[in-house]
């Protein structure tokens, strides 16, 4: 187990490094830099810009240096000083900007994952065991509809309907009065009354996917001899299925966390924009368009880290669940 974990950790570090490199490359891709945007907005406001001042800023921000140098500065800053650099647009420390939003992201996406599993598990099992039954069809249809609706679209409609029907605004994560209050029952309730929408929207597509995978896996497992063995022991049908095939079918499912997370993060970017969630998503979107590179870079990097760690956790979980992998050591 330990050896396995260590292997995975090494792999993770490598991937993280790659992530950071790509993240930095991506934010470098678009032509021009933040200052072009900045100058643009200034002059769009009919404001005068002194080229000298801009050059000064350029030098301060260390633009124009070769890619590798910039990258080196950036990554060492992060590793040694936990300093993600400056957000040009906010004229503030990136670290001061992102943690709160990242926290929200993790909260919302985490809840979405949980909901996804809670829903997908029973349905998936049911539709596998009762293959081609009415319930199976309903479940599949329902799941697929969830998969088919573009989530930003769904979010928008939810928001509008809740306005028309309840005259309520489900945007954001809290209503103003609870915004900066400390946690309390009413605040939790307020949170729920806002957060249900994004969580629902986010978990929708993932759920469908999970149901499908679980169903497929389970169908394979149900044919395996050991199921008969279990029956031959005199176990009840329910216990047989839960203890053996489901248990085995879960393994590959656990590893799906790996892709579930990046997918969630991505779609949450869009949903967050529609529903105005104070998550990392909208900030990332904005920073990318305005080429606020260090902010964008930090967010991409951290989201990447988030997902990679997610994958690692799911791998370890998998190993813990599945001795073959654990002892196979690979």
């Amino acid at each position: 187990m330990l050896r396995f974990a260590i292997n995975r950790l090494i792999a993770m570090v490598l991937i993280l490094w790659a992530v950071s490199f790509v993240a930095f490359a991506i934010i470098q891709l678009p032509p021009g830099d933040y200052l072009t945007t900045y100058v643009a907005t200034l002059s769009a406001n009919g404001d005068r810009v002194d080229p000298a001042a801009i050059d000064a800023l350029r030098r301060q921000y260390g633009f124009g240096e070769p890619y590798i140098v910039q990258y080196w500065k950036w990554i060492t800053g992060i590793l040694l000083r936990g300093d993600f650099g400056q957000s040009f647009e906010w004229k503030a420390q990136v670290t001061d900007l992102i943690w709160g939003r990242l926290g929200n992201s993790i909260l919302v996406e985490g809840l979405a994952v949980i909901l996804t599993w809670l829903v997908a598990l029973p349905i998936g099992i049911y539709s596998a065991v009762r293959k081609y039954s009415l319930g199976d069809y309903l479940a599949t249809v329902g799941g697929f509809i969830g998969l088919a609706i573009p989530n930003f679209f769904f979010a928008l409609i939810l928001m509008y309907l809740s306005f028309v029907w309840f005259g309520a605004n489900i945007g954001g994560l809290f209503s103003p009065e609870f915004e900066n209050a400390r946690w309390s029952l009413p605040r939790i309730w307020d949170f729920v009354s806002h957060a249900w929408a994004p969580i629902l929207v986010l978990s929708l597509s993932g759920t469908a996917e999970l149901i499908r995978i679980l169903r497929a896996n389970l169908l394979d497992e149900l044919k395996k001899p050991y199921v008969t063995t279990a029956r031959a022991k005199g176990l009840s049908e329910f216990r047989t299925i839960i203890k053996y095939p489901v248990r085995v079918a879960l393994n590959p499912l656990v590893s799906t966390l790996g892709w579930l997370l990046p997918a969630l993060v991505s779609s949450s970017v869009i949903v967050s924009v529609v529903l105005n969630l104070p998550t990392a998503g909208p900030m990332l979107l904005r920073s990318l368009t305005s080429q606020d590179m260090y902010l964008a870079g930090a967010i991409i990097l951290l989201l990447g880290v988030l997902t990679v760690i997610g994958t690692l956790v799911s791998d370890l979980l998998l190993a813990w669940l599945d001795p073959r992998i654990r002892y196979g050591g690979k």
């Binding site: 643009a40 957000s87 001061d96 943690w99 509008y160 954001g172 529903l275």
Partner: protein
């Protein structure tokens, strides 16, 4: 009715009003009940001590109001500082009056201008105080100038204008003089505009601690605070004028009617402001302003959410982001439900969309073509403006070129209407004259027969109606035999292309319809926004010499005139110069307009009073700030 002459007309008026103020000394000022308890507890000095000797007396729009209430509105994302500028921040040395005709006193109660309009002397009110109670004096102004003189610090203010360097001399606590190297006729307008706030936005007492000149360990402290340089730390602590970061630091002293309560940090989901107990304005009955206790702005990345909030009556006043043509029916129907009203806003812009063909194109053939007036005339004739107005603007507006608006003293019908009628024949004629030849497929080609396709850049995210209009124009031009592509790109790319000069044409809004003098970008190659002649303006401004190009004679002539205008003190002469510039513009017809923007609208809760029914909508005149939100109030039910 003298638009161009704002500067000195304002100056005179300034003195007049200043005198008038002294004439009616303020007796026994009242304050908001919310402050009483603080005063009685001694946490706050009594109102008379907080107010300056002669506070600015504000005439309420309708009636003297009552204290209380919160003004709810929304920011689109955390970087929508423009809305804060339009609501809280607009309090410079001077300000525009509500008709946007004159410049009236504000922090400065009067000022004089030297004959050669090189030096401007301002007299601040006596006893002005920052919201932390510290006095606001000429030294604070001097500090700002000193700081922005630092080549490594700040950007975008007249203090840093290389063309016309400025120095400041402090006469006494309340008096100072700005001395410009060259005559400067437009500085008063700049100071009255939203861009004129830099001077009064920094408290020396607070900000000097981040400035090595006053604190030798400023640099180390910056490092300790996690900033590379002292400049970065200064920017972070003492954001100037309307910079976003300014609203993130509650300790930073303010001179505005409201001060930061919950700051605009990166993860803020709402920003709140509360009344500034030291605010230096009173109403005609001597009540200290503002009436409204505070502002609450929801930070929302979703326009849809903001729209819904407004429809839901959860927004007290807002026009920004939501008052689009498309939303108008929604808001109209929702008035009962949401208990709000819609007010009229007259746009300062002269056109719904300006098509700027690139006369400095790097490709010789295209440069020649686009620089050819007949070609542009042809395009203009080929556009069926009424059709576009009906389709995109539900019939609102009229065919219009890029020329001063009817409300402007510079209005000139011929300029506004030339080539606006839809006439395929004339178009064809013009194209022939421009040397284009019709190919076999009925499409025009260059004289040498090489195919011609013009690509027009636009930014859908900025103005959703532009792509629509362009799509119609695309079809109309196709009918007239001109192939056209729409290139919908990101804003940054949009700006990046300008210096490169390889774009055929870009579109933008019709700025400068009312603020003709301040914003002549479409009448002449005046600044970096004159995309139709980017390299000419580079030559004029000397900002980016590497791409500068010597302009055509007529353009040069305009530049000379404008340089004169900048230096001209006498309003009438300035008006005259501007008229000449416009006449040349009219002759050479540099850019093509589509239609005069119809009025837009604002949303205001029915119980919000003292809000004028009609406003001008502009940025330099940062609507609604010039309509004195600090004298708005909520009627008690």
């Amino acid at each position: 009715m003298k638009f161009s002459v704002l500067g000195t007309a304002g100056a005179l008026a300034g003195i007049a009003i200043g005198a008038l103020m002294l004439a009616n000394p303020v007796l026994a000022a009242q304050q908001a009940p919310s402050l009483d308890e603080m005063v009685s507890s001694g946490a706050l000095p009594p109102v008379d001590e907080r107010l300056p000797e002669n506070p600015l007396v504000v005439d309420p729009v309708e009636s003297v109001g009552t204290y209380g209430g919160i003004w709810h509105s929304a920011l689109r994302g955390g970087l929508d500082n423009a809305w804060i500028a339009r609501t809280v921040a607009y309090d410079g040395l001077v300000r525009y009056d509500r008709e946007w005709k004159e410049i009236i006193p504000n922090l400065a109660e009067s000022w004089e201008v030297s004959e050669d309009s090189r030096s401007y002397t301002f007299h601040l009110r006596k006893g002005l105080k920052w919201n932390n109670g510290k006095p606001f004096t000429a030294d604070d102004i001097a500090f700002a100038v000193e700081l922005f003189k630092e080549p490594s610090y700040g950007a975008g203010t007249f203090i840093k204008n290389p063309q016309n360097p400025v120095t400041i001399e402090v006469v006494d606590e309340t008096t100072f003089t700005l001395n410009f190297e060259n005559p400067n006729g437009t500085i008063m307008d700049e100071l009255a505009s939203v861009n004129g706030l830099t001077l009064v936005s920094l408290s020396k007492d607070y900000c000097s601690q981040f400035y090595p000149k006053y604190n030798e360990n400023a640099a180390e402290e910056a490092k300790a605070a996690g900033f590379e340089t002292w400049e970065l730390w200064m920017t972070d602590r003492c954001g100037w004028a309307t910079e976003t970061i300014r609203w993130a630091n509650p300790d930073l002293p303010f001179m505005n009617a409201w001060m930061i309560d919950q700051p605009l940090t990166g993860d803020a989901t709402r920003v709140t402001f509360k009344r500034n107990p030291y605010y230096w304005k009173v109403d005609t009955e001597g009540n200290q302003l503002p009436y409204i206790d505070g502002l609450e702005m929801r930070v929302s990345d979703s326009v849809e959410e903001i729209t819904l909030l407004a429809l839901n009556g959860q927004i007290d006043f807002q026009d920004r982001h939501i008052s689009t043509v498309a939303n108008q029916p929604l808001f109209y129907d929702g008035q009962e439900e949401g208990d709000y009203r819609m007010g009229q806003e007259i746009q300062s812009s002269s056109n719904t969309m300006v098509i700027q063909f690139n006369m400095n194109h790097v490709d010789e053939k295209r440069r020649e073509l686009f620089a050819n007036k007949d070609f542009r005339i042809g395009i203009s004739y080929a556009i069926d403006r009424q059709e576009i107005i009906d389709a995109v603007f539900t019939g609102q507006g009229e065919p219009y070129q890029v020329a001063p608006r009817p409300e402007s003293p510079f209005y000139n019908e011929t300029y506004a209407k030339q080539y606006t009628e839809y006439d395929p024949d004339k178009a064809a004629e013009a194209f022939e004259k421009a040397g284009l030849t019709k190919g076999g497929d009925g499409m025009y080609t260059f004289a040498d027969g090489s195919p011609l396709t013009i690509t027009i850049d636009t930014i859908a995210s900025l103005r959703p109606e532009w792509p629509d209009m362009l799509e119609l124009i695309q079809l109309q031009l196709e009918a007239a035999g001109i192939k056209m592509e729409i290139n919908n790109i990101d804003r940054t790319l949009y700006y990046d292309k300008r210096p490169l000069g390889d774009y055929d044409a870009q579109v933008w809004g019709g700025d400068g319809g009312l603020d003709v003098v301040q914003e002549p970008r479409y009448y002449m190659a005046a600044n970096a926004e004159s995309v139709w002649a980017f390299r000419w303006q580079a030559w004029y401004n000397g900002s980016t010499p590497e791409i500068a190009e010597e302009p055509a004679d007529w353009a040069k002539q305009q530049m000379d005139l404008y340089t004169q205008l900048r230096g001209e003190g006498d309003p009438d002469k300035r008006a005259e110069l501007m008229t000449q510039i416009l006449t040349i513009g009219q002759e050479n017809f540099p850019v093509i307009g589509v239609s005069l923007p119809g009025d837009t609208y604002y949303i205001a809760r029915n119980n919000l009073k003292n809000v004028p029914d009609t406003m001008f909508q502009a940025y330099l005149f940062p609507t609604p700030a010039p309509y004195d939100p600090f004298q708005w109030y909520f009627a008690q039910e």
